[in-house]
Subunit: 467 residues, 2 copies
């Protein structure tokens, strides 16, 4: 144990239960896990409080000692925010998984930050309600991590980002003080909305400990369809048509560009719903309240799209089994890509009007440096969010091409995964010096000793020469 | 002209156009206007820049001199945020009314902060789109003021608060630095979302100069209905039924409690749509995409509500004329109340589960101090937001009863009007010391000289004895 570690343990002695502290050999390798495979440092100490008070005690002690802390939820983040850096101890929310009973009338639920997204979804479902955000990592990603990254996923089109689900938060600041704003009111302008400070700031301004979340009425019908389209323009036209004809029923619009679908078919567990060979595939979904009619109406609009030539082939789900089978096609993308060695992946947002030009220019530029590169693009077209993957012998140059292309198109270098450690070198491409200075102003105001998720999103620059 | 005024004019000399500055006798009385009739001070100087650069020059000069500034938009705020205090100069956005051309595909528009809400609504409408927020003061309230108060209004149920409409902002900080985040991407987590700093913070952290706003597809049908209900419980039951049967089509659910409707009928321009005498009236609206069918479907659900005994009488609009006539009933509330001398009014939010008890207890407590008090309550029931008015000989005691009742029920002392100067004494009833300290931390980080909308929302306490 280092001197710093000993100091922290003695500072916490008698304040936290022994069971809340793992130290030295008791620290498991799992705290180094990272979905990108970039192993973090093995922390000397892991604090695992069971409640907000424990988090407050832990933070106050670390703040007194200037001890850097990295916060961990489900450790499934894709930007390295939770990856342990040398000298950091871990504050894990893994034992704070409590779920309140949903309030059916107000359509809210209050949960601890270590609860998984799936646990929230199931609690909502059991109360006849629905949680509006869904992502592939639902089984491991936690509420706290979802809030820290302002998670997006497949139904942003209808329900908004995670920010839109947050009616109240409790958070512990770096100095251990506790902000509790858990009334869960849908409309409240009684002073600053401090919740916003902790959403999408990747744990750098405070540790979220509890959240009051918005739930929605459970739709009475869900129907999806898988479509083959002749072009990018057709995908934009279909989105417009569905919005116009179905209005608020439209709940997902996921795109998959060639050759991704063709290449993944052999690895799919189930038969392909449509033949390979189209330039674009779209999975779209509606959620409605007229089970006898919604599917038929959806099919009519899609048939019109076929007649208009913007859809070349389509299959509409006719049963819950078919509905889940079509979603399984969408969920087959990640295992297919994750199994591929040497793939780089980014999560970018683009103005719809400039997306097609971005795709063409980026592919040309990548092929100019590596003619044999594989390019796989899918994402949430309705939100302008693409997940762009490249297998290339020139990964560093490819990153540069993609991010510079995104910046030139007026896009963002992270749509829903966050910046963390792994993307911060590209952040200045899309945010001005004045914006970065304002972020540092916030960080300094709320964590003057820079102990909390230090170096995530940005560094406090210029570096202090005396440090 | 005071010494301070002279200093500011000389500081601005050659930096702002003479036409951007009104001083001394050129300052019009209108800058003292306040919808509550509490006249502000007459400012010595009014700065009226035409662009962001002008706002930045004005703020930088005021910051150097420690000159307090109050920001004015449409001067229709209901909490005194824009009311001039002695020693303040006015920064008016009244000449920054520019509107960009709506982007139809992305459904966005970029506007200057001095544009009115109605101008935004009309620009959207002309492009075949719709803006999601509507309030009674649409013709005067500006985008900047709407953002500063996180405006709500009649369609929060469907489209969310103003915060949900903001895709990007440009703001000038107290020191004159400019933050421009106007990409208008629906999904972007590339670093902190600094826009959130300026939404609902009543101009205390920066001056919003431009905004990229979300628009929505224009609904193909709009139908409303005016209902008489036998009880508060029935109003809650009808809301649940409409949500369950109509899901996302439901776009407004406005309530009006006895004796408000009965008392306002004589002052209404048009005939009353339903007879007086019911305990509760509700105006509800749907927006759909099937003009041939939506009205009929809405009427079927309302007929079921009549059969179930939760609605005692109902009129459903059958034409655009009838649609507007029913909304006119809702809009008659404000003129009726504003014409009443000595009325006090508050804008509170409450958990739905505790609203009925709050109403009963508050009325009992008010009648105990003034048996002849008139109590008029209406509001946005779907959001838990009530506008509560009392005509009483004991206004100060009545405020206290209402706000303490709200706090005890877990509610908020401002749902959509903000805190400003007029409600800050009640803010500590609903926000903890830790929350107020965090608000002050933010204010100090972004306006260290405390020149911008000073004393709005909260005071920087304890007061600095050296100041």
């Amino acid at each position: 144990m280092s001197l710093e570690g000993d100091r922290l343990l003695s500072e916490l002695n008698g304040k936290l239960d022994a069971g809340d502290i793992l130290a030295g050999p008791a620290v498991d390798e799992r705290y180094r896990d990272d979905p990108d495979g970039k192993l973090g440092a093995l922390p000397e100490i892991v604090l695992r409080p069971r409640d907000t008070e424990g988090v407050a005690i832990a933070m106050a002690a670390c703040n007194r000692l200037g001890q850097p802390v990295v916060v961990q939820g489900g450790r499934t983040g894709l930007a390295g925010s939770a990856r342990v850096q040398p000298g950091e101890i871990v504050l894990s929310l893994e034992r704070m998984t409590g779920l309140g009973i949903p309030d059916r009338e107000a359509a809210t639920i209050t949960v601890q930050a270590g609860a998984t997204m799936q646990a929230v979804q199931e609690a909502a479902d059991n109360a006849g309600l629905m949680f509006g955000v869904d992502i592939g990592a639902r089984g491991s990603a936690t509420v706290g991590g979802n809030i820290a990254t302002n998670a997006g996923g497949i139904r942003v089109l209808r329900y908004g980002m995670y920010r839109a689900q947050v009616l109240g938060l409790e958070a512990v600041l770096a100095d251990g003080s506790v902000l509790t704003s858990l009334k869960g009111l849908p409309k409240d302008n009684s002073g600053y909305d401090l919740n916003q400070l902790f959403i999408g700031t990747e744990g750098t301004l405070g540790v979220v400990t509890r959240a009051a979340l918005r739930l929605h009425p459970k739709p009475l019908s869900e129907v999806n369809a898988f479509c083959a389209l002749p072009s990018f323009e057709a995908a934009i036209a279909l989105l417009g048509l569905l919005r116009q004809k179905l209005g608020p029923l439209l709940s997902a619009y996921e795109v998959n560009f060639a050759p991704l679908y063709d290449d993944m078919i052999p690895s799919m567990a189930a038969p392909a719903p449509l033949p390979a060979g189209s330039p674009v595939y779209v999975l779209t979904e509606i959620q409605g309240n007229e089970p006898d009619r919604d599917g038929e109406r959806f099919a009519e609009v899609l048939m019109q799209a076929v007649e208009d030539g913007i859809v070349s082939d389509v299959v509409v789900s006719q049963s819950p089994r078919e509905f889940h089978a079509l979603w399984a096609v969408r969920e087959s993308v990640n295992p297919f890509l994750f199994a591929m060695k040497g793939l780089i992946g980014v999560d970018v947002s683009l103005p719809l009007a400039r997306m097609q030009a971005f795709l063409a220019q980026t592919e040309t530029a990548i092929r100019a440096i590596d003619a044999g590169a594989n390019i796989y693009v899918f994402g949430h077209l309705g939100d302008g969010n693409l997940h762009y993957q490249v297998r290339t012998v020139e990964p560093s140059a490819a990153y540069d091409i993609i991010y510079r292309g995104v910046a030139a198109a007026g896009g963002g270098v992270s749509a829903e995964h966050g910046i963390g450690l792994d993307k911060k070198r590209w952040l200045p491409l899309v945010r001005s010096d004045a914006e970065l200075a304002a972020m540092r102003r916030l960080k300094t105001a709320f964590d003057p000793n820079n102990i909390l998720n230090r170096g995530r999103v940005f560094d406090i620059a210029p570096p202090d020469p005396s440090a």
